[in-house]
């Protein structure tokens, strides 16, 4: 077990290193000069040079990379070029929107998918199963930003129940903030819920077909008790794995949905930073995004191994 954790930790570190290198290299070759963007078209060459020097852009690439990584290892994310403030503060502000949004979406997605998937599998090819299949097929097929648009059209423009976007901030009360996050969270959740429903359904079906479940049934344990005690806990293992994989979709999808709903989240910050070539901010955000995904999948891997002894030996 320890060996498994250790080897996974090493590959986690290697992956993170690759990611950081990849980000740095991409940004290195990205056309666009942050200084020219900030100073506009009237700026003179000497002014631009002065700003480049101020921003440390005139230093060699390797040095800048090492400084960046060194800073991060010390917990220093650097200073935003455009906002002139610590990236950690910026990110924390935006996390206050993106994190609740993603968590809410994951919650909605899971609450929808688990019961639907299990119910569908419990009576395979029944009416519920067919309805769930249709839902999951449709859910996967619609783009989340389109769901967002249609929600705005229905619930904001026509019915007026929800704000058409924007975020009042947590300091103005939890209720209005949640109200502003609900529609985007549902838009974000639906396609992923559809995927998760299918996974739950097939995982449940697989477990139902397994020997130990048949044995339990043969011993006379009734259907719903078997489902509860044997099937669902075992089906949860692959479901959790998929949920881990979906994390990147939740964060990634947040960029589009935040744009549609005009939410000041991390995705929008990344989008703006890219437009302004605020390289410090982009680097950090991409690293945070990918780091989160990598770490969560690492945890899922470990959890998986603990839950499923067969896998331990494989490492």
């Amino acid at each position: 077990m320890l060996r498994l954790v250790l080897s996974r930790l090493v590959s986690l570190a290697v992956t993170l290193l690759f990611v950081s290198l990849a980000i740095f290299l991409i940004l290195e070759v990205l056309p666009g000069d942050p200084a020219a963007i900030m100073l506009g078209t009237a700026a003179r060459e000497d002014t631009l040079a002065a700003l480049r020097q101020e921003l440390g852009l005139d230093q060699p690439a390797l040095l800048r990379y090492l400084e960046w990584i060194g800073g991060i290892l010390h917990g220093d994310l650097g200073t935003s070029i455009t906002y002139k403030m610590p990236v950690s503060t910026l990110v924390a502000e935006r996390m206050a929107v993106t994190l609740p949004l993603s968590l809410l979406a994951i919650l909605i997605s899971t609450l929808l998918a688990l019961p639907l998937g299990v119910a569908a599998a419990a009576r395979r090819d029944g009416a519920v199963d067919r309805a769930v299949l249709v839902f999951s097929q449709l859910g996967v097929a619609v783009p989340n930003f389109w769901i967002g648009l249609i929600f705005i059209l229905f619930f904001s423009t026509w019915l007026g129940w929800f704000p058409a976007g924007g975020f009042p901030g947590w300091e103005n009360g939890v209720a209005p903030a949640l109200q502003a996050l609900l529609l985007p969270a549902v838009a974000l959740a639906l396609p992923q819920a559809a995927v998760l429903t299918r996974v739950t359904r097939s995982a449940t079906l697989e477990v139902i077909g397994a020997d130990f479940v048949r044995t339990a049934r043969a011993k006379g344990v009734d259907r719903s008790a078997t489902l509860r005690r044997h099937v669902v806990p075992n089906a949860l293992i692959p479901v959790t794995t998929i949920l881990g994989l979906q994390l990147s979709f939740f964060f990634g999808g947040a960029i589009l949905v935040e744009n549609v709903f005009n939410l000041p989240g991390l995705g929008r910050l990344a989008y703006q930073a890219l437009n302004q070539r605020d390289l410090v901010v982009i680097k950090d955000i991409v690293l945070i995004f990918s780091g989160l995904v990598i770490v969560v999948n690492f945890l899922v891997d470990i959890g998986y191994a603990i839950l499923d002894p067969r896998l331990r030996s494989r490492a």
Partner: protein, 493 residues
């Protein structure tokens, strides 16, 4: 919550006071968030739209009609040779941090802006300055190397506001000026809050206690925020197609004014076929400006035939010089040797006004046998790199939002690659001419040259579509400089 509490508190106090007490807080919506709050070190318009006249003040200011007015300088004299400006400063002015404003601050601010290490985006404002002297705390003498007709006008811009030596370094995140409002807080991605400066030197003129700028980029959300009352005013509504709804709504004032932004499709004048004036004129003839404005901006925006803002007193309408005339366009193209068609490209930024105009222009040009391919080009990063710096383009389209920037056509090495010595001399003369009438006449002549020579396709003036609560008064209808000046704003009840 705090807003409601404030309202409740007001209600309580009001019960003893005369019937109506006017609201004293204002929420202004803006489409783009400023990247920092120091207009003296970066170019973006949004910085000025929050800070200019509200947080920072210059020696002079531009008023809503585009005229120069005294501000921190209560008066000035210009020597007969036009080379020495002597400013008398206001007394009793304090910065927000409590330090006193005097001539040393003016010298510091201008020296900082024109220093070699300065990152001021409009260094040419300070280029004519030879020396700055401060004979006493209330007097500043600025000596120029050469006469400059627009020197005072430029000093009214955000790039020339006065900042204090003690605080200038941190102004980007924590701005300190002499203005009627001081900085309270900035929630990145959402809002900047300003609060009344109790020590303001003309505080009796200011009616508002607090001003909040909220940043809402999506047009639908802007409309929703206005309707819900979350935002009291949107001086530049993002979507013209939604503006008409407010014109019918009595709760709002909806005013279509002008910005300083001329939308032009610049051409690479050094490159074939654009080095041929007949081709440039032909393309201009092929464009139906009215239909373009209708399609790209829902009919708002004034057509322009040259490169000058209608807000400026020296403006002359030049749209009739090369009117929409497809037959003439075809004839000119044939004359230039492109009777069998012409294939060109346009590098178009992603902003809605630009990409929509590019699509419409492409459609119009196809009517005269010109095939124009659209190459979407990321603005600002790639556009600055490819078009502005490397001049690797045929046609491009962008709004030039700086006031009084006709001189860009006289600049060497500017992205139009336009060379016209007569025009260049004229602009240089105009810049030096201190007599107003004579200067306007020169600018009129310059406008005519551009209209006839068509170094860029002159399309329309970017309108300022302002929507605000009908009970608000004192908002700017036009923006002769990029600004959301709220110093004269008040609620009528």
């Amino acid at each position: 919550m705090s807003k409601r509490f404030l309202a409740a508190a007001l209600l309580l106090s009001v019960s003893f006071a005369p019937a109506y007490a006017a609201k004293t807080s204002l929420v202004v919506g803006m489409p783009i968030e400023p990247p920092g709050l120091d207009p003296t070190v970066a170019a973006p318009v949004a910085i000025r739209e929050v800070t200019w006249a509200n947080l920072y003040e210059g020696l002079v200011r531009i008023d809503r009609n585009g005229k120069v007015q005294p501000l921190l300088a209560k008066s000035w004299e210009i020597s007969p040779d036009g080379l020495t400006y002597t400013f008398r400063l206001q007394e009793g002015v304090k910065f927000h941090d409590g330090t006193t404003f005097d001539s040393a601050d003016v010298k510091f601010a201008f020296d900082r802006a024109r220093a070699p290490t300065s990152t001021n985006a409009q260094k040419q404002i300070f280029a004519p300055i030879d020396a700055i002297e401060t004979p006493d705390p209330q007097t500043v003498v600025i000596k120029l190397k050469e006469t400059s007709g627009n020197f005072l006008y430029y000093l009214g811009w955000g790039d020339a506001v006065i900042v204090a030596p003690e605080t200038a370094e941190n102004n980007k995140a924590n701005p300190v000026g002499t203005g009627p409002f001081k900085f309270k807080s900035w929630t990145r991605g959402d809002r900047v809050e300003l609060t009344r400066n109790p020590d303001y030197w003309q505080k009796d003129k200011i009616k508002l206690d607090s001003v909040t700028f909220r940043f809402i980029s999506d047009a639908q959300a802007q409309v929703a925020a206005l309707r819900a009352g979350d935002v009291d005013a949107f001086p530049n509504l993002g979507a013209p197609e939604l503006f008409t709804e407010f014109q019918k709504d009595k709760r709002f004032s909806a005013v279509a004014g002008n910005t300083e932004g001329e939308i032009v499709a610049g051409m690479n004048n050094a490159k074939k076929p654009f080095d041929d004036v007949r081709v440039r004129r032909a393309l201009m003839h092929a464009i139906d400006r009215k239909a373009l404005i209708e399609g790209a901006y829902s009919g708002f925006g004034q057509p322009i035939g040259s490169f000058f803002s209608p807000n400026n007193p020296a403006f002359v309408d030049m749209t009739s010089v090369i009117p929409y005339d497809t037959a003439k366009a075809k004839a000119l193209l044939a004359e230039a040797g492109y009777g069998n068609g012409l294939s060109i490209t346009i590098k178009s930024p992603q902003m809605a006004y630009a990409s929509r105009s590019a699509e419409l222009i492409a459609a119009m040009l196809s009517e005269v046998g010109v095939d124009m391919k659209i190459i979407p080009t990321e603005f600002p990063a790639k556009w600055i790199e490819e078009v502005f710096k490397n001049k690797d383009y045929d046609v491009t389209i962008v709004a030039h939002t700086e006031p009084l920037d006709i001189d860009i056509f006289a600049r060497d090495n500017y992205y139009f690659n336009y060379k016209n010595d007569k025009f260049k001399a004229l602009i240089a003369e105009a810049a030096k001419t201190t007599d107003e009438k004579a200067r306007y006449a020169k600018y009129a002549e310059a406008q005519k040259i551009l209209a006839e020579d068509v170094p860029a396709l002159f399309l329309f003036q970017l309108p300022k579509l302002g929507v605000w609560n009908a009970k608000l008064k004192g908002m700017w209808e036009n923006s002769p400089v990029p600004a959301n000046d709220v110093t004269e704003v008040s609620w009528t009840e």
